[in-house]
Point group: D2
Chain length 338, copies 4
């Protein structure tokens, strides 16, 4: 770490900081500059104490970390891309672009199965659908629960699609893992570390959505909780961050694709439905995501969006989805994917 002292710090006060740095097991190197003195503290920032506490010394202006705080998610420890086998057979993170599609919420057998057959036909390989739903208001539909999971299982049996569904309680981890091929951690739980640990321990692939106001570093560190708890099958999912803009529900940060590819070996998925909050923008966002190198798309599809029990405004119709898949073909080719 770099410890920046205030201008004109007397020699004795410099020594006091140097001594404290030694006490915390770093090796200090004092650098006297034109205007300021800075102390480089050499040591492993992840295993030693955090030197930020030094800012309680009045002569310390700032402490700047230089090492990254994450390690297992890092590209360097695994220079090639991690390819995750969903349900042991669907590679995510490889050459083939995967598409996960389905309704925001599982509402009924008819709704789910008609969607499943349609998205399968259009080219999706994984079915999404919420059985447990985190809702901003306690008065909104909270999902069908286990019954929803059973419908997902039925859809899987009928179509062969793998299943991704949200886990929102540590207490449901085993139950949801029994039915799901990928556990989705939602944006509101992206730093619910107990849930991340519980999800990791099921051994199932974990798709970690970015929190509404999560910096890239915090997102990587949340992912670190999954791998550090013994589960290497980690997938990042960008779904829009919260900004001042109100035209869209969230601001989809597509730069997350090249950034995650650069920093990490894990696959990156784009969820344009949440990002846009409006079906009419989803198509353009999918094109951008594919062109920029996303490994998969996660798209909300509903047989009758106007009657959806949650987030109807952002769900594509079955027809709309089929058309989207066709539209994407040249972009998939241009991106060198299948």
């Amino acid at each position: 770490m770099i410890v920046v002292l205030k201008p004109n710090t007397p020699e004795g006060d410099i020594t006091a900081v140097v001594e404290e740095i030694k006490r915390l097991n770093y090796e200090p190197r004092v650098l006297r500059g034109v205007e300021l003195t800075v102390i480089a503290a050499i040591g492993d920032e992840r295993t030693h104490s955090n030197l930020e506490t030094l800012t309680v010394f009045p002569q310390v202006d700032r402490v700047m970390p230089v090492q990254s705080r994450y390690k297992l998610v890092k590209r360097q420890v695994h220079p090639s891309n991690s390819v995750i086998q969903v349900d042991g057979r669907i590679p995510l993170g490889g050459k083939k672009l995967q598409v996960m599609a389905g309704p925001c919420s599982v509402e009924s057998e008819k709704q789910l199965l008609s969607t499943a057959h349609a998205v399968k036909k259009a080219g999706a390989t994984i079915l999404r659908g919420g059985a447990f739903k985190p809702r901003t208001s306690p008065y909104e539909f909270q999902g069908l629960g286990e019954q929803g999971l059973k419908l997902l299982a039925k859809a899987k049996r009928e179509t062969g699609l793998a299943i991704i569904t949200e886990l929102l309680s540590e207490q449901h981890a085993d139950l949801v893992a029994e039915y799901a091929d990928v556990l989705q951690i939602g944006t509101r739980n992206a730093q619910n570390f107990q849930l991340l640990i519980a999800a990791a321990k099921t051994g199932k692939p974990v798709l970690l959505k970015r929190g509404l106001s999560m910096r890239i570093e915090e997102w990587l560190l949340a992912g670190e909780y999954v791998i550090a708890n013994g589960n290497p099958n980690l997938i990042f999912c960008e779904r829009g961050i919260r900004t001042f803009e109100t035209y869209t529900r969230n601001t989809l940060d597509l730069a997350a694709i090249p950034i995650i590819k650069q920093e990490s070996h894990c696959p990156i998925v784009i969820d344009p439905s949440q990002g846009a909050g409006r079906a009419d923008l989803v198509v353009a966002m999918c094109k951008g995501a594919v062109a920029m190198g996303a490994d998969a798309l996660l798209i909300e599809v509903h047989p009758n969006p106007a009657e959806a029990w949650s987030d109807g405004a952002q769900q594509l119709s079955l027809d709309g989805f089929a058309k989207l898949m066709e539209t994407l073909n040249p972009f998939i080719a241009a991106a060198g994917r299948e």
Copy 2:
């Protein structure tokens, strides 16, 4: 709700929306304006379906809700201030300004007890201290767990201070509630609805920190989860929101005080330590909070901040805290509090 149609919508398309509104059990009133037609849909927006799904109709431009989505936290259902009795004896939300103080993390018996005695002497009535700590990185200190709770209990026996500590797992709810007089829900769990429900069910007062990027409405709705699950002892706590500014760790939104007082009957607490991330700004922020009508302050205090195991940079020393309490006196008087 107000359904705004696109300009020049043909009559038949207007009728289609009107029919859908009726089908969803609202009573439509068509208003033909100079440029636009809007349809007012009369009905209870909380019990009926959400009309936002109507935006999938191409002729619908926007749907604007007019009713507030929360009810039990609302000032109107309880026009006077709710006063919550912490540990059955410390009124929070009444005329007396309460001060909650203590270390970010419980680290040792010596650290905790010396802090407890000092903050008690300086005027605090509630001891804070984290036993279970949510940390951005899995490699950071995660708290002493149950041992930490036991130390808090010991501090309570010795000083008479009530205890506030964080709950971060549904599975710890009963354990933490056994020791704590107030359960704190941290900012990263502010929309972990399962945790809110588990906290509510313990019956203990729940202090709900505002999420990093939570709008006031979402915060009130998260509080609604607590009251709707049978626990009226809800306390809101502003601790800074995430913005583009990097000088401070977060941006403390002191306007939350008059806003919560206007919208809700629940008490509002200010946590300036998290808001500032820097001890040197905490004093000014406490003055502002008291002047603007906060019901309590939640302040991080540590016997030796430079050696704190977490967030040292923002913790006051014991002396610093004692001086702060004296400094606040004229502002407490000016605000008409005790």
Copy 3:
């Protein structure tokens, strides 16, 4: 507009609002709902007074506009895309994707001409380069001024590239317009309305960058200043907005492409250099921009980025630019552009 009254407003207070609405030349329609009364005020919101002042009545909860505030930039007044002829010969907004490239600042004849020849060869049609530079600090390089403009003119004569350069003072409007084929209004001046008017009056095409924290509506309204002052040659340019994220300098909001296309008839250009702040992300962002339908790209290119006098970190080398142009070809084809 829709005027929402507070619950349980007495009849007399409703009448007072109705009378005020009439006085302001709107036609009021009172709608009594289950919980609330709302008043629809029918009239042209752009020519009448703004009813938001009604919120000073204590019985008024909110006033919600329903009409859009912009008109001349609106897609509806010009249903087909506006195609702007840059220098009377380079169509922007049509089938051909245009590329504007060049250094952040004009530094010397050698630097500019070598760049101009290189970007021309790689396929760019418009040369960018700042002669007047708005810099965060007064101690940073402020541009070569008129000398820079003359170098741009020379580069134009030698290469045939049209010229885009920034206008940052009303007092330079005529001078800059003499040399430039497109006047660029920078992000910090995006709501400097006097500058927008001065730029409009030159008659040259105006490229309006989005302000750092400008909502789409505000951006469209700033553009409205240009067209309302007699200049229909308006071009929008997204260059990244300010968010909490610090990994990138700004967050490039690529959703602006389909949104501007939907709301407006004006062309939309993407500036990935400013958005990323890092050359290594520029390529991916260009791919996304092209796929999503951008009409042009604005890219910073420098013969030796490490020696650039401003913003070196985000400038591509000449080679890097040539490779980028090749890489983009399949995406341009996929997007149906030339």
Copy 4:
């Protein structure tokens, strides 16, 4: 500056960076750490080239500046508070809290004079009122222009109040300075550097509002433009920043008070009207501002807010203002001000 190299950078690549640092006139010191090598580059970061261009070297991970970029606004160059004499007689930045009050826009003689007499009587010493108004839409009232300035002059003659009014065009600088005792630079022009220079050159005190999404450092640097152009009479004004919150128009960042006091010697003024966007929150915000050490308040007051031509929702009535001034007295005393 600190140059952080990527892990495992070969010796030759380290040398290349060292050479470049020397070429740019810094003195390099190589520090080999446990995981990373960093190079401290010693030199004056304000007069030398900016080393950020080094990030174009692939082996460079990050460049971190250590010196502050501003100097003349800095507390260190002027350890005591700067007290600015407005109109040569009203000290701003000293022991007395000053109050600037008046309408958002000057609308008529009657409106302005009745307000001026009322705010004077209630204790204000400076009259505010916009003659030139920057409006988001070109169709909104743009101010009375020079006629408005003349009305302000008349109000000054009648009441003895000093005048603050906005400057929004370089071309108006002399005209506005003829009438105004303080030139206000609005939030949208906070980085319109040409305007800052023009304002500075009039010699009149300059009140610089913080830009909507300006970091503290950028605000200080914009202020640096004023002092560096020969005008030491610089006043900072916090008026709310743009965040994701929509309940208030902006988020008033009251922490700016202690931060500006710490970083700079210049006075700091709070504008709660713009910050809140709602008159009902203004009172609480004024209390907080006074308690936290603001040197002055800037408050919108109108004889009939419901009929204001701009921003009626956030203006206090004459009575409301008089009551506010009484309410503030105990807080002014508690803050040790007059």
